[in-house]
Symmetry: C2
Subunit: 600 residues, 2 copies
């Protein structure tokens, strides 16, 4: 097994969204199989901390034990788990993004902890890493790296959630020029009850959206009462109030009027990380549901033996595999972009931001696909438990409630769905992605009734074809929509959302097929991987046809519509297989591993 990340040369790194335009396996991708020894070791350390220090305290965490949360953060800090994204110069280790995502995965075993941890190391700390000046970095980062100080991030307000830039909190410079005077409030702020440092957005003079670093004992700044939530109850979520709060001028973060740059970059990275974060929870829930199903008997049989249970467990495993394949592929792309950069150079952060931004499409896919895969998985897990799944005593009950937040925060899934196809089209219009040219070819192929051909003639050839067909359909649909609606397309949210589902399925299939082929030894595909891909392909070929019909019906009328609907069948790449055989191939591996069979 390779110990180095591929690809190495930053020039060859495919741009964001390229998966839609390139053939399956066009470039090597980073996968758990290509992780370096350091990455693996780091992951194991983090996972051990999670299993041994954090998880045994899950019940205490659930009852909002902030002292315990701080203690766990401190322990994590001692293990170096808080400083992965902090440069060495400021007390961090400045590791690669794949490692940062592996850390998020390892911390994802419990929702409350995962969100607390993520708010601290992610949205709380990164704005200072990325946009702080040298003095700010020197003052805050070493303390954040140990969690001597805990961080929070305050963007949302009562009146502005999805419309983040619609914030009403105001900042004006004090007459003596020494303070920014903040007035307003923030809502739903994670870690608020015990954080020391808050990154807060406010509008300077009422219109220039700007970031500030606010310390907890700032005069005029108070933290409101805890929200009572459906899930992640162990995490703190409170409103913040600013009444003539006096923030020292040196705590301006970045430039006046450039707060949106901070907010959007933080969101991009947060979305990418969300995919990894939910992965940890998914793997744990699979293992627990499997154990429960093996132990629980009905009709004299372990319920794990019933086909409907096995169908669920196999589907859970396939979702994990799909998400995992996309997630580390994407973090690998970010790392590859940065491979040639000098981490200690003064402009390193700007390259880092550019690299993260480059894969904003993939990151939003991680957010949407990840949160929905988790949601489906915990739902299956509850159902496998029967009545016990509804009782707090069983961890799955909590996991079910915890999971639901992921479709709402870091940008709702509606907002992210529109962003995915929206960004693709914007890049195409700018000429960065050859969407229109390729869509033209696709239209011709479809008119000729041509199906994509597999380039590799192995057991995955039909799924390679499915991936290529999904890409063609997405490109075709996007191009038709852009032609029909022009700049009005953004108002046709249902078209954008439907085509996003096709794009996501294309990315999942492409990533899984590429990964399985890369992992083949002596050209022999692992049958378990093949079975997992078939499971995903079965679901997605139906979904893709459905979404394409929706998109076309919303885009075209009359004969044009009839013509396009008629051609859709050409790219219906459904491939029959025996579901029981596929399921049993997956389940044999899952049962022998006691859970997800591809441990990193």
């Amino acid at each position: 097994m390779s110990t180095a990340n591929t690809p190495a040369a930053s020039k060859d790194v495919p741009p964001g969204g390229a998966f839609l335009f390139q053939e399956v396996g066009a470039s090597p991708i980073v996968t758990p199989e290509t992780f370096s020894e350091e990455q693996r070791m780091f992951f194991r350390t983090a996972l051990q901390f999670s299993h041994e220090q954090m998880l045994p305290q899950a019940d205490k965490i659930e009852h909002k034990d902030n002292v315990l949360l701080r203690e766990l953060l401190r322990q994590a800090g001692e293990l170096g788990l808080l400083s992965v994204d902090i440069p060495e110069a400021y007390g961090g280790t400045g590791l690669d993004k794949t490692t940062s995502l592996l850390l998020a995965e390892a911390m994802g075993l419990n929702g409350s902890w995962s969100v607390t941890f993520g708010a601290h190391v992610g949205i709380g700390t990164l704005p200072i890493v990325w946009f702080g000046n040298a003095a700010q970095k020197a003052k805050y980062l070493p303390k954040l790296a140990t969690s001597e100080w805990v961080a929070a991030y305050a963007l949302t307000e009562q009146g502005s959630g999805s419309d983040a830039l619609g914030a009403k909190t105001k900042a004006v410079l004090s007459p003596d020029g020494k303070h920014w005077i903040l007035n307003g409030s923030k809502l739903f702020i994670t870690n608020a009850a015990f954080a020391d440092v808050f990154v807060v957005f406010a509008k300077v003079d009422g219109d220039k959206f700007t970031g500030f670093i606010v310390e907890k004992d700032t005069p005029g700044f108070t933290v409101g009462p805890e929200e009572h939530k459906m899930g992640i109850r162990g995490s703190s979520t409170c409103p913040l109030y600013f009444e003539d709060a006096r923030v020292p001028v040196e705590n301006l973060l970045g430039d006046v009027g450039k707060g949106h740059k901070i907010a959007f970059n933080i969101l991009n990275y947060g979305r990418l990380k969300l995919g990894a974060g939910v992965l940890g929870g998914m793997k744990l829930q699979l293992a627990q549901a499997l154990r429960f199903a093996q132990e629980r008997k009905q009709f004299g049989t372990p319920i794990a033996h019933f086909p409907l249970s096995r169908e669920k467990l196999a589907r859970m495993t396939a979702l994990i595999h799909a998400l995992e394949s996309m997630t580390y592929r994407t973090s690998g792309l970010v790392d590859a972009r940065l491979a040639a950069r000098d981490k200690s150079a003064p402009d390193y952060e700007s390259h880092l931001l550019a690299a993260v931004e480059e894969y904003a499409i993939e990151s939003s896919i991680m957010k949407v696909y990840g949160s929905e895969a988790l949601w489906q998985l915990v739902d299956d897990a509850v159902q496998l438990h029967g009545g016990a799944g509804y009782i707090e005593e069983y961890p799955v009950e909590r996991a079910y409630r915890d999971a639901r937040i992921n479709r709402i925060f870091e940008g709702t899934n509606e907002i992210n769905r529109m962003l995915i196809t929206g960004m693709l089209l914007k890049r195409a219009v700018k000429g960065d992605l050859p969407l229109f040219a390729m869509a033209g070819n696709v239209a011709e192929e479809m008119a000729r009734g041509e199906k994509p051909q597999a380039r590799t003639n192995d057991a995955l050839a039909p799924q390679e074809v499915a991936a290529e067909a999904a890409k063609r359909l997405a490109l075709h649909g996007l191009s038709l929509a852009a032609q029909t609606f022009g700049p009005e397309l953004e108002k046709h949210q249902d078209v954008l959302a439907a085509l996003t589902d096709v794009v996501m399925d294309a990315f999942a299939l492409d990533s899984m097929v590429a990964r399985a082929r890369q992992a083949a030894t002596d050209g022999k595909l692992d049958p378990v991987r093949v079975a997992l891909i078939r499971t995903i392909a079965f679901d997605s070929t139906s979904r893709i046809q459905d979404r394409m019909r929706r998109a076309l019906c919303s885009t075209l009328k009359g004969d044009a519509l009839a013509k396009e609907l008629g051609r859709l069948g050409t790219l219906d790449t459904f491939t029959p297989y025996d579901p029981a055989e596929v399921r049993e191939t997956v389940m044999a591996a899952v049962e022998s591993a006691g859970g997800y069979p591809f441990a990193a």
Copy 2:
């Protein structure tokens, strides 16, 4: 509008499962449009109680205020809401089943209340109505009708949930023949903490499954601590313990060894009622989500104006309409079977049971479709709320947690899915349903590439065809599976479950189209109904194709499979329409009604 129920003559009443064999609109069906004045009035009274007495107390209920629950039950009793299913001779009103379901709908506005109420009037009281002897009825029913005594039902045990007959609780006759001595325990018993009368199942001499009436102060009988649950937290759920509990011999319910008859009949009726119960919650959540979306602004626009919000609200409305159409159609069939019977005749209960049993297939459909429609609807409602949907302050958060139980109790959805197609096949094998003969015709039609033709050439003709195609596909799939697997078919759970989805979609489409046509005035279809049916048809045509592929792939191999898959397209009845137009037709009606537009 008609004020009488149709059809009137019990001879013409189609048998259970007939919807799959008859053409759309073959017989008139009961729908909210055909409700009698008495039914409407009763519903309004019940709904008023729910809105004015119960809902304002929802927060108190949530905190398990058993005193309040009993007081609400008492008030309901005063209004006659507890005695609909109790015969007049025993202090009840013995109303029809449509009224009983309307009551369940009206009580469904809050999960905890709905389950508490349902356990009392349904599973708690009905075993005595249906299986009690005259003395038992005289002793218990008048008190249950007022809730002077509250009832509970104890079937489940630690080791037996889905496998209800696997109970371990034992009963032996005391040496003096005066008591049954019960030993064992029960799990997850609703109303346990404050019930006075428990219907309990135990095995006489360890093998004869039998019902008993157990009063709360029975020596040796104790109620354990409350379970902490994901939702319906206001309802009581406790284990029961029997340690040499002495139950008087006169409290034997029905015959020794005939407990399964009680349990199965209660389950059948409970499943039918579940559809109605969730309907009430669905309508309330739709109205609340609509109001929230109209009031909440982002980007300077009420979020109710965004297409992705409107898509959700329209889908919610369509699900309600589908479920409502199936539910009252089914209760109407039960009522029609009983229309000619004398309610005071000694054998009335046995006819009632037979009528309920006759529609066991439809009842299981109500259970599965209803619980999943509710679940999808509350999920959409949470999502429409954004972050607020995750906060307990907003009623939708509670509704989301409450909803989840419905897929688990009254038989899990897995068990019910297998029952639906399982019962169809059993009746076919017995010769009660012409499944194999009709499937033969279908196979020939498919071989000839023949599509079903609409018999009525109106705006719903394509959806009539979709309904007919769904039925043909279900029959064809069932017949192929039966031929292939014979008696082993029950082991092929995935095939049964996949075909059940087709059967359910067929019933939904058939019921909606028949209802809309019946409700047409001067032959003019209501465009809102047409739009709702199109919404459901769009979703279901994709799902049907997917499930048929699954079922066929699990049933056939090689050429036979290829042939059948190839023919599937003939019955792909997808009909294009402009989604925006359909959505806006629905939304105009929803917005002007402030919720579901067809108030009973």
